[in-house]
Symmetry: C2
Subunit: 430 residues, 2 copies
């Protein structure tokens, strides 16, 4: 088992977690400097070698993952949680394939984004550069760590992975496989490190490591929001909750709408682009709610008295329901009086991730697309399309829910910064 | 005097500064919603009417400014500080002209940045949107407030201005003139507000007003760095110190180099793109230092023993000098042994704003442009070109020194976010 050999034999001491994370940061910053100028070929070699290591070590990865899954089952975690954590042969192969796919994507570093020649003869180029050191906080989903490591590597950034503590054993093997790739390409192993402790203070340490960390990407639900807001002393690119809406307007094709709602809620309930709240114009509720409930099958639908009067299968909703990202087979439903009520309701309750309208009225659709200020706004399509792959980006690290730097799917290009290269021949400014 | 009339007659109470700033934020957020969909014509009308109000109220503005200048003189502030604060007829006209120029720039909102049609028929557009509410913290420079107000307005953002407390009287009149413009265009006056108190806690209140403020732009020197890092709970676009370097390489044309260094340091000493540190290859120091000192005239040059041995006019430098943004007629000088020493020295001491190399060796120039990770890197040009106007952006709110969102000059485009508009005809995701 070669992968084991590649773990750094000078792993820093984890007993003082702040000092530990700081040391990881220091090493990452050094690695980032050489990675920034690494050739595309070298980075791709690391990625394909890592993919091969992932395949070669499949049995070992599955064994480590089984350990994680056993603990989580013993702790009585919900099925959706276990589903995100668990690996099988197909999923390991998919992780390896994703690494090969990221190798095949264009290198985002060094792209000349804009060139201008000034009247005084100065040539000004805006050119894409790596961000530096990225801290990645994510759920107990082993594939996210592999994707994040690969995307950061390809975009020339060193990364420090902090996966959910329930996936620690899986993450270790994944990082070892990525290290195999780095070794094969003669890149510093510190380009991809993990926080190898379940100490929860490590998250705070990462969020405050301003000396070395250029960006933290926190992925997670509502619980992370206040933690990040209170503690972050470094720039963050929030990947927070997806409380997504599908609004079925009175002018909708109801058959189309029922199919969209079913897909938006149920295709995969655990993804952040899943619709959590259905908003329906009151004037079509009598026709549409039964169709929607039929389409949604066993999904639990929660609504207020007005909706329950129309459709007895709907269970009572509290106010809290309309702010909830279920990530499960549960959906809230709200009746409204047209776009004048739907747009403010969605603006108030949405987490500004993805919101969709279903309507055949083009003017109302345009109004919705303009007035809803979410990262992704859709017309007559399932919110589950909110995904970097579906957007043609090749791969994504997640969906940014803030407005700064990147919004929506974050792929390779979004993991870069830029600088201006100015070339002159002795110009001085008058 | 019509301008006075336009001040809001329901100014919130400033006695509880946190509640006060929060109330400004709440009003700004409401105003931002209508401003986001305001037409280009309406925004331009507000800008040109504000320019006219500025000209009409020149005498009043100069009177208010004189009050500010008197207090500052009484407090014994340095000449450079007073120069940034003081207005005269020409400067007021320049402020008004800048408003007209911003009106003439293209509207950054609604630009379609990218369009893609997916194989499944979905059309995905990335379209520029305003950020929302921007808090602007800046020095006692009245023109900065006018520029920032106008740039935010044109980019569809509501702004809360927090100018240096020494410029409070000037800022009040400037905001009144901007309000005249908003009134003429029938836009909410709360699109441009100021923090009308010198209470220093207002800065913290603005940096923590996460409910309403989408972005704070802190402009200033080192003093702001730790304040922002410790206190900010909202995204920030740092405009911090400009410790800029000019490196004169052994292969430089020394005459060209002396002219560049003179311009880079002395054209205007108070701008953030001014060179603060001169780095010289030891092998040419004997020839170049006397030329540089001649060119620099009365400028105080501080260096270590090796430089002073060559050029007696150089005064002693401490370590601190190499981290100092003088913003004055003072310059530090460092002798190094070629690019292998110059690049790490600059990387260590630069504030990553703007750094330049002077050399006739193209390979060394390219290496410098690639390896120095500053917002702007230059070859054979004066660092004083680091400016949005000089870059062809038309106008700038400042120079961003972080790596996220925008880097270097921040003009209208950099004050926008974007969202994805997805149009389908009933697509569901397989």
């Amino acid at each position: 088992m070669t992968a084991v050999l590649s773990r750094m034999n000078d792993m820093p001491d984890t007993s003082d977690v702040t000092a530990y994370v700081n040391e990881l940061g220091r090493r990452a910053a050094t690695a980032a400097r050489s990675l920034a100028s690494a050739s595309t070929e070298r980075k791709n070699k690391a990625l394909t070698a890592a993919a091969q290591a992932m395949r070669d070590n499949r049995a070992r990865l599955l064994e480590a993952n089984a350990k994680d899954v056993d603990s989580v089952k013993a702790a009585g975690k919900p099925a959706a949680f276990i589903d995100r954590l668990i690996l099988d042969e197909d999923r390991v192969n998919a992780i390896a394939d994703a690494l090969d796919q990221i190798a095949a994507l264009p290198d985002p570093v060094g792209r000349v984004l804009h060139t201008t020649e000034r009247p005084n003869g100065l040539t000004i180029e805006r050119v894409a550069t790596p961000l530096g050191v990225i801290g990645m906080i994510y759920e107990s989903r082993p594939n996210v760590g592999a994707d994040a490591g690969a995307l950061c590597l390809k975009s020339g950034n060193a990364v420090i992975l902090r996966g959910g503590s329930e996936s620690l054993n899986s993450t270790r093997v994944i990082v070892e496989c990525l290290a195999e790739g780095l070794k094969a390409a003669e890149l510093p192993l510190e380009c991809i490190q993990m926080i190898d402790t379940t100490d929860r203070n490590a998250v705070q340490a990462l969020l405050t490591c301003a000396e070395y960390v250029d960006l933290v990407i926190p992925r997670g639900g509502k619980g992370l929001v206040s933690l990040v807001r209170d503690q972050a002393r470094v720039p963050t690119l929030l990947h927070l909750d997806g409380n997504c809406h599908t609004y079925v307007n009175a002018a909708a094709d109801l058959t189309k709408a029922a199919a969209i709602v079913k897909n938006a809620k149920l295709r995969r309930t655990g993804v952040c682009g899943a619709t959590e709240s259905l908003v329906v114009d009151r004037s079509i509720a009598k026709d549409f709610l039964p169709m929607a409930l039929d389409a949604l099958g066993d999904c639990e639908v929660r609504g207020e008295a007005d909706a329950r009067e129309i459709e007895a299968r709907i269970k009572p909703a509290t106010d809290e329901d309309f702010y909830t990202e279920y990530l499960d087979t549960t959906l809230s439903v709200k009746l409204v009086d047209g776009p004048d009520a739907a747009i403010p309701f969605i603006s108030e309750h949405s987490s500004a991730h993805t919101d969709a309208i279903v309507t055949e009225d083009a003017a109302i659709a345009e109004r919705f697309l303009n007035e809803i200020d979410s990262a992704v706004v859709m017309h007559n399509a399932s919110t589950q399309f909110s995904d970097g792959g579906e957007f043609g980006m090749g791969a994504e690290i997640g969906i940014a829910t803030g407005k700064m730097h990147a919004r929506g799917p974050v792929g390779l290009e979004q993991l870069t910064s830029f600088k201006y290269r100015v070339r002159g021949n002795g110009q001085t400014r008058p």
